[in-house]
């Protein structure tokens, strides 16, 4: 036995780590890989689709050109019929309207959204183990549309889905502890419908104070980590973009359960109205084929889609950015093989979200 062998023997009795130890490390890595998503077996980000209970006069007030009767019932039953690819904005690229006008329109819409959601009935916070069923359509270009069904507990600790006719229930995913964390930090560590609900509930009513708090949280987490890997964009270029993406994603994740408390959601919309550079995309069709309104902080490349009546998040979408669109070539008949400006590249929308008694129930 030489000296190297002796070194090899030293502490040789140290064993490999236990699976739970490794799972913790893997969860920490997963949080970096997709901070807006949990290590879940199927699509995570999904919003509920509420029945519009309030008369929609705001659209006309802010000049959104909805086709008469063009807004479908808000609880669509698209199962069994093909889902049309989401269209580009009917009014053309977002820059068709001057930025100042865009900002005013967006602020007006967000202020109105704040007023509407603030008057909505208070929704009781479900128990952590409450199962929530959701059906989501995800359109990707290329690839087309896929419809997913998923069951998840309100706290996100369990999930279930059907595979080859068998219900698969996951309850052993790597768990991230949120004990003792402030609500926003808990949401950052483990963004579930519950932590999103609690985070929204914790935000200050004053919009500027809210933005300061969110801005501080974005700084702590890192702007890149806020939305990496999500439809809301991968690399916010400004603090404003990061704050908008953070708040949009917060609303979206809350909508995967029962949304947020009305007062909290109203405060979020009021705060979003103060974020500079937010623009409005009108006449947008979401992945479920419904006319919605899009809001974006990066010129329309990544949009939060709202129901134009209830102002609840209904979808997210990423479109081919204007600056990357190829100029049409007349010599080649205008076909460049590159998606046109405003073409949806990724679009998510809820078909339904509701509380159910057990996984597999609809």
């Amino acid at each position: 036995m030489n000296d190297i062998d002796l070194v090899r023997e030293l502490r040789a009795e140290v064993t490999a780590p236990t699976p739970s130890r490794l799972a913790d490390g893997r969860a920490r890595l997963q949080a970096v890989i997709s901070p807006g998503e949990r290590p879940r077996p199927v699509h995570l980000l999904r919003a509920k689709f509420l029945i519009p209970a309030l008369a929609g006069t705001v659209a006309a007030a802010v000049g959104i050109g909805y086709a008469a009767g063009g807004h479908s019932p808000a609880v669509p039953s698209v199962a069994g019929r093909p889902v049309a690819p989401p269209s580009a904005s009917r009014s053309g690229p977002p820059t068709a309207v001057p930025p100042v006008t865009q900002a005013v329109l967006a602020a007006q819409l967000l202020t109105q959204a704040s007023s509407v959601v603030g008057r909505a009935p208070v929704k009781a916070e479900p128990a952590p183990g409450q199962w929530v069923y959701s059906k989501t359509v995800d359109y990707q270009k290329p690839g087309g549309a896929n419809v997913y069904e998923n069951w998840e507990t309100f706290d996100g600790r369990k999930s279930a889905y059907f595979e080859n006719g068998h219900l698969i229930v996951h309850d052993s995913r790597a768990q991230v502890s949120t004990a003792g964390l402030p609500p926003l930090a808990a949401y950052d560590a483990w963004p579930s419908p519950k932590t999103a609900y609690d985070a929204i509930a914790s935000l200050p009513a004053d919009p500027r104070a809210l933005l300061r708090q969110v801005g501080a949280d974005v700084s702590r987490v890192g702007a890149d980590n806020v939305v990496a890997g999500s439809v809301m964009g991968s690399r916010p270029k400004t603090g404003s973009q990061a704050e908008f993406a953070y708040l949009g994603q917060l609303l979206w994740n809350a909508a995967a359960g029962v949304g947020g408390p009305p007062r909290g959601e109203a405060a979020v919309f009021r705060a979003m109205a103060l974020i500079p550079g937010v623009s409005l995309q009108k006449g947008v069709t979401d992945a479920a084929g419904h006319l919605v309104v899009g809001l974006s902080a990066n010129g329309g490349a990544n949009q939060l889609l709202l129901d134009p009546v209830s102002y609840q998040p209904t979808g997210l979408r990423a479109v081919f950015p204007i600056q990357k669109a190829a100029k049409p070539s007349p010599a080649k008949g205008g076909h460049s093989g590159v998606p046109g400006t405003g073409t949806a590249l990724d679009s998510l929308a809820y078909l339904t979200v509701k509380e159910v008694s057990k996984p597999g129930a609809r």
């Binding site: 070194v7 009795e13 780590p17 890595l29």
Partner: protein, 204 residues
């Protein structure tokens, strides 16, 4: 490349992770356990948790700079881990010295261990082996951190000279010289004790 090491497709996994970040988790599944054990042997379980998590965190951030011609990512990962271990070098040396002084290894009191399956059946031989380990711990504590890194990457992580060179971004010749220096100091620290005698005695 060592036989029995992870399959040589880490580069493909990392390349895929540049389009599909989720693929990077596969690298963790493949290498985290052995890396954790290596770090735990140096710093204990608790510090190993953080070092391994930070290693993969840093690796994920740097994946776009990974040399995709390198099929095996272990040298890259161990290199990142070694930098992180370096932040604990005083603690590492302190634990080694404590072991040398007291005969109780702080690392073993905090980590999962398995019974030794060693060849020292007789009590005298076990005591002798214990004495050698304490001398060895003292010797490792006294090494320059850079020399200790090379010695332990070869002895505990089973990396080749070339892999250590890649991991630490130093020439292979430097690896050899650091290893030579480390081994010489270990032998001197063992005080003329001829370790080979242990095996000869126990097999008599």
């Amino acid at each position: 490349m060592h036989a029995g090491q992870p399959p040589p497709d880490d580069a493909a996994l990392i390349e895929r992770s540049q389009r599909d970040p989720e693929a990077f988790a596969g690298l963790y599944d493949r290498h985290a356990a052995l890396l954790h054990r290596y770090v735990a042997r140096r710093l204990g379980d608790v510090a190993a948790d953080d070092v391994v998590a930070d290693t993969f965190h840093d690796a994920f951030r740097r994946r776009h700079k990974y040399d995709l011609t390198a099929a095996d990512a272990r040298p890259w990962l161990y290199g990142i881990a070694t930098n992180l271990i370096g932040k604990h070098s005083r603690s590492e040396a302190r634990m080694l010295r404590a072991y040398a002084r007291t005969g109780t290894d702080p690392v073993l009191t905090t980590t999962g261990t398995r019974p030794r399956t060693e060849e020292y059946d007789q009590a005298d031989s076990r005591l002798a082996a214990q004495a050698v380990r304490r001398e060895l711990a003292a010797a490792l504590a006294a090494l320059a951190p850079a020399d200790r890194d090379v010695l332990l990457m070869i002895a505990w992580a089973d990396l080749s000279y070339a892999e250590v060179a890649t991991a630490l971004r130093i020439p292979v010749g430097t690896v050899r010289s650091r290893l030579h220096r480390a081994r010489a100091r270990v032998r001197v620290a063992l005080g003329g004790y001829d370790p080979t005698c242990i095996r000869e005695e126990t097999h008599q």
